[in-house]
């Protein structure tokens, strides 16, 4: 330590150089997993799992006590919903069968029949206020890879940004700077849904690059479009809350996400990749 104090200037310059080299090294295009990320990440990742589990245990007990009286009503409601969903599912299966038969007749190859899905718990969130990223307790050991789609009850959450051995970092749609190609469900109007930190604090997304004459109105459902480079088409993103006029003759819309990001504790990952590969 005395040695460092005597050569203070050089020490600080050395630390700066170390940080800059690290930046240059990890900022390269196509940089994947470094030694630091994989080793330190796995170690601290396990500790985070432990802490998250302890925290969940307490909050579960707390929830249970708080919800005791409303549980009966909730149960009734869920039963009714279950009945309704069961009926829907029967109808859907019937339709699906018909579609399959019709597709066979016209010799159409059906893509993405069924996705392989994996459930994961959220173990940690970014402690800063600039980002909404979080980590989950599954990584490359469970077959996860970058850019897989992440879902939750309701619709699309985001994508897998980085994969460690036993954890992955998820970038949610709300994160500033992320965007996804989208379209409206009703009229099929295209746009790009992106996260904006000033909107996401109010729980909203922005859909931009909407043509002037587009047939869109508040309440329209927004889904991922077939133009998306990484997401499978048709996943629900949310619905339009408000339309606005952007500069340059284009319009934008404020979109309420289908997923309640604040209440998220578990996510589903589609383990098939749809990444668009340039040839």
């Amino acid at each position: 330590m005395e040695f460092l104090r005597r050569h203070k200037k050089w020490f600080i310059v050395g630390l700066m150089a170390a940080a800059l080299i690290l930046m240059a090294f990890t900022g390269r295009q196509g940089y994947e997993q470094g030694f630091l990320r994989s080793s330190v990440g796995s170690g601290i990742g396990s500790a985070q799992v432990l802490f998250a589990n302890i925290g969940n245990w307490f909050s579960d007990r707390f929830e249970f006590l708080r919800n005791m009286n409303t549980m009966h009503v909730e149960n009734q409601r869920l039963r009714a919903e279950n009945e309704r969903l069961q009926a829907d599912l029967d109808r859907f299966l019937h339709l699906n069968e018909q579609i399959r038969i019709l597709a066979e007749i016209v010799d159409l190859h059906l893509h993405y029949d069924e996705y392989n899905v994996l459930a994961a718990d959220i173990i940690a969130r970014d402690p800063g206020n600039w980002s909404a990223s979080f980590t989950i307790n599954r990584g490359s050991s469970s077959g996860l890879a970058e850019n897989m789609a992440v879902l939750a009850p309701g619709g699309l959450v985001g994508r897998v940004a980085r994969v460690g051995f036993n954890y992955s970092v998820i970038t949610p749609l709300l994160e500033d700077g992320t965007s996804v190609a989208a379209q409206s469900e009703r009229a099929g109007e295209f746009g790009v849904v992106s996260g904006d930190i000033n909107l996401s604090s109010h729980g909203l997304l922005r859909m931009s690059y909407i043509e002037q004459g587009a047939d869109l109105s508040p309440g329209d459902a927004v889904i991922t479009s077939s133009l998306s480079a990484i997401f499978p088409p048709g996943i629900r993103i949310g619905h339009i809350a408000e339309m606005g006029q952007a500069a340059g003759g284009l319009r934008y819309a404020l979109v309420v996400p289908a997923v309640d990001f604040g209440e998220l504790t578990m996510v589903l990952i589609i383990t098939d990749t749809f990444e668009f590969i340039l040839e």
């Binding site: 690290l22 802490f51 604090s201």
Partner: protein, 171 residues
Amino acid sequence: MRVIVFSLIVILNFIISTTWLQGIAIGGILPNTALIIVVSYALLRDDVEGAIIGFGAGLLYDIFFSSVMGVSALLMMFVGFLAGKPFRDFFKENYIAPIVLVAAATLAYEFAFYVLNFLLFGRTDFLRYLGSIILPTAAYNLVLCIFIYRLIYGVNRLITKREDRRRGLMK
């Protein structure tokens, strides 16, 4: 001894702030506890140790949440280094110095973070970021700093006592 204890404190803080601490967000704003720890420690020790603990805490954040590693490490190192600089002889039981320094450090750190991660990518709407993120974080840090400084102060005094006693035995 000192190295082990404060490494553990930094790592434990990281784990807690990514898991349990999410529950104490006010209006979606979380305090930056790592920054408070770095500033408090630098204040009690000196600039070189402040730079080291800052570098370590920043690196830990980078490993998990930054796409380009090293940005937070660099920023936190500067914060630790500067916080440990001109205050070697201040009255350590007084809370004014840590409070003022933590507020200043938070503003500086969050501003630099904004410049590096947002302004450089064309997000020029500074006043909105200032109002919605930078100032609330600084205010939250300012309040929490009183407790965390007290804690770091206590741990530091225990370790210093231990070191002094050991040194006494050696003579």
